[in-house]
């Protein structure tokens, strides 16, 4: 007869059946369990698996000879940035580092994008976006607005890998429910521990991952989301007047980030179905991806570079939705003055209220 060993969900020790209690009891921590509870818990444990995050990364296609003739590739020998433009657009300086010397080369190799979301907002909108971005920020140095010098504004098509997948998930959570009551002398707190199991699936469409090392990943994720319903099949005509970056991180390498985001969202979504508990912590999550496929697309971004007191600040605007991002400097003198005055002000008010309560 096979000997079934159970581990205590509370302390991890091996538990045994206590015949006098007709229950399972842990000899180490003295916790008692109903038989059914342990069977259910054991069932949850058996469903634990490993993540299977496989993708078919066959995105993009080859450029046609005609397209290769109409496109130019520019390389910045200062930062290594590589951009594509059609033959009517001359790149005069590198959009990433501002170096004015860019070498024109014949487009070669690489993949042709599957989709492009065309620019919807123009340069004027980007300038207006910056102006809006600088208003209503109390701790921004006042002189930043007047002293910062807008070096350049560039509309860039940033290469992104888009991942579609169906995620199958088995997730086990540990949850607690807390009951509090009291009698004349004591306050009581009872914590009930539960093992929660959820399985199901969830679909993801067009999860974007930045395919360019020159375009910072955090900036690219911050201007999200893009509305994919505006995306169209790629045509070189959309590049006229804009620059396009060439991907230098391939789909196989970008998939790690997509997996992470898909897994986070899957765990979050299933956690939302665990209701009525005080705390819920995921103990084990296995996410398996089915029908994972990737596409290569170009997303529109306005990049604005400014200089303030010798330091460069980069701003980015979503060329489709107008979402504007970019970190700003803090006025440290103002920060500490505000803290000091608030401490004195609030502290003074509290002290005065203490006096008023005494006098009443």
């Amino acid at each position: 007869m096979a000997l079934q060993e159970y581990k205590c969900p509370c302390c991890g020790g091996a538990i045994t059946f206590d015949s006098s209690l007709q229950k399972m009891k842990c000899p180490y921590c003295d916790t008692e369990f109903e038989m059914e509870a342990l069977l259910g818990y054991d069932e949850d444990l058996k469903n634990e698996g490993v993540d299977e995050l496989e993708w078919h990364t066959d995105a993009g296609s080859a450029w046609t000879a005609d397209e290769e003739n109409r496109l130019r590739s520019y390389v910045c020998h200062s930062c290594g940035g590589e951009i594509i433009a059609d033959d009517t657009t001359a790149a005069s300086e590198c959009p990433y580092c501002g170096n004015p010397v860019v070498m024109m080369e014949q487009l070669k190799g690489n993949l042709r994008p599957d989709y492009v979301i065309p620019f919807k907002l123009d340069k004027t909108a980007a300038k207006e976006g910056l102006k809006q971005h600088l208003t209503g920020k109390f701790l921004l140095p006042k002189v930043f607005k007047s002293e910062n010098h807008l070096d350049d504004i560039k509309g860039i098509y940033v290469p992104v890998w888009l991942f579609n997948a169906d995620a199958d998930a088995d997730i086990r959570y540990r949850a607690t429910r807390v009951t509090v009551w009291s009698d004349a002398r004591y306050n009581y707190t009872r914590t009930d521990h539960y093992s929660i199991y959820r399985a199901g699936h969830l679909g993801f469409d067009h999860v974007p991952v930045d395919g360019s090392t020159k375009m910072a990943d955090d900036i690219m994720e911050s201007v999200e989301p893009y509305d994919f319903s505006d995306a169209v099949d790629f045509q070189t005509a959309y590049l006229a007047g804009y620059l396009a970056d060439k991907y230098d991180v391939d789909a196989e390498h970008s998939v790690t980030r997509a997996n992470q985001r898909v897994k986070e969202s899957t765990e979050d979504a299933f956690k939302d179905t665990v209701e009525g508990y005080a705390t819920v912590t995921a103990e084990n999550a296995s996410v398996r991806l089915k029908n994972g496929e990737s596409k290569y697309a170009l997303y529109p971004v306005w990049i604005l570079n400014t200089t303030y007191r010798g330091q460069k600040y980069t701003f980015a605007m979503n060329g489709q939705t107008g979402k504007f991002v970019g970190n700003l400097p803090t006025d440290n003198a103002k920060l500490w003055l505000t803290r000091l005055l608030m401490t004195a002000g609030i502290g003074g008010i509290i002290y005065a209220v203490m006096w008023l309560l005494q006098l009443m």
Binding site: K137, S195, G200, G203, E264, T343, G348
Partner: protein, 250 residues
């Protein structure tokens, strides 16, 4: 910001204006008495304790009563003796009575403080204990006069409006924490570039399906903590008046 400073300063000013007013709001109805039935105080000592009691009574508009007795008479407890002495001699509604007896229900000397009306919360049990601790050495060595004089000072300090200096430090600390939270939120407005969590925006609408769902109860843990003592608890004497108070044998 400027408005906040002005508001603070005016509140502080208000406090300064009202503080002396509170000290001088005596209506003249407050009475004080020192009843030395046990005759442990000299004539001079009795006089100066009476003077101190009446000046406190007048200043704070409360009744201040000191009773010194050789035993509890027909009473079983210091509490009952003290409460009834206060109520049946027409003191109140606000006041403090200090009973010193040479023989209490425990067969020892005893001190009991009975409070009434507004003094129940102004001079609570913790504060009574603190004052008792200060005078304990004098009491046990038999220096009753010095002990009662110090006790009178303790009553005056706790009943009169006062905010200890440590409260100012606490107030400033709370102010600093709030300032940190508020400036933290203002500072966060300057940071708009960060990696995103999850891919919520890209979940296919209606694609989520839960195929299995099981909630299993495992076990319970229970903790018990003693309730904090209520500082303003009161009892009702035979006259039906509420009193606060505490006592010690020594």
């Amino acid at each position: 910001m400027k408005r906040m400073i002005i508001l603070t300063l005016s509140l502080l000013l208000l406090a300064c204006v009202f503080a002396p007013a509170a000290f001088a709001n005596g209506t003249g109805t407050a009475v004080s008495i020192v009843d030395d039935g046990a005759e442990v105080l000299s004539e001079n000592e009795l006089q100066s304790l009476s003077d101190k009691a009446s000046s406190i009574a007048e200043q704070l508009d409360i009744d201040v009563v000191f009773v010194i007795t050789s035993d509890l008479g027909s009473y079983n407890t210091k509490m009952a003796y003290a409460d009834d002495y206060f109520d049946y001699n027409g003191y109140g509604p606000d006041g403090v009575l200090v009973l010193l007896t040479m023989l209490d229900e425990n067969g020892k000397r005893g001190l009991y403080t009975s409070t009434a009306g507004s003094c129940i919360s102004k001079f609570n049990e913790d504060e009574q204990d603190a004052v008792f601790d200060d005078v304990y050495d004098e009491l046990s060595s038999g220096s009753y006069y010095a002990a009662l004089m110090d006790y009178a000072d303790g009553i005056a300090y706790h009943v009169s409006p006062h905010v200890p200096f440590s409260s100012l430090l606490i107030a400033l600390a709370v102010g600093f924490v709030i300032a940190l939270v508020v400036t933290g939120m203002l500072k966060k407005k300057l940071t708009t570039v960060e990696m995103q969590h999850g891919a919520k925006n890209y979940v296919r609408a209606g694609s989520m399906e839960v195929t299995a769902s099981r909630d299993t109860f495992l076990y319970s843990t229970m903790t018990r903590t003693e309730k904090p003592r209520d500082n303003d608890r009161t009892h009702t004497g035979s006259s039906g008046t509420s009193h606060g108070g505490s006592g010690h044998s020594f």
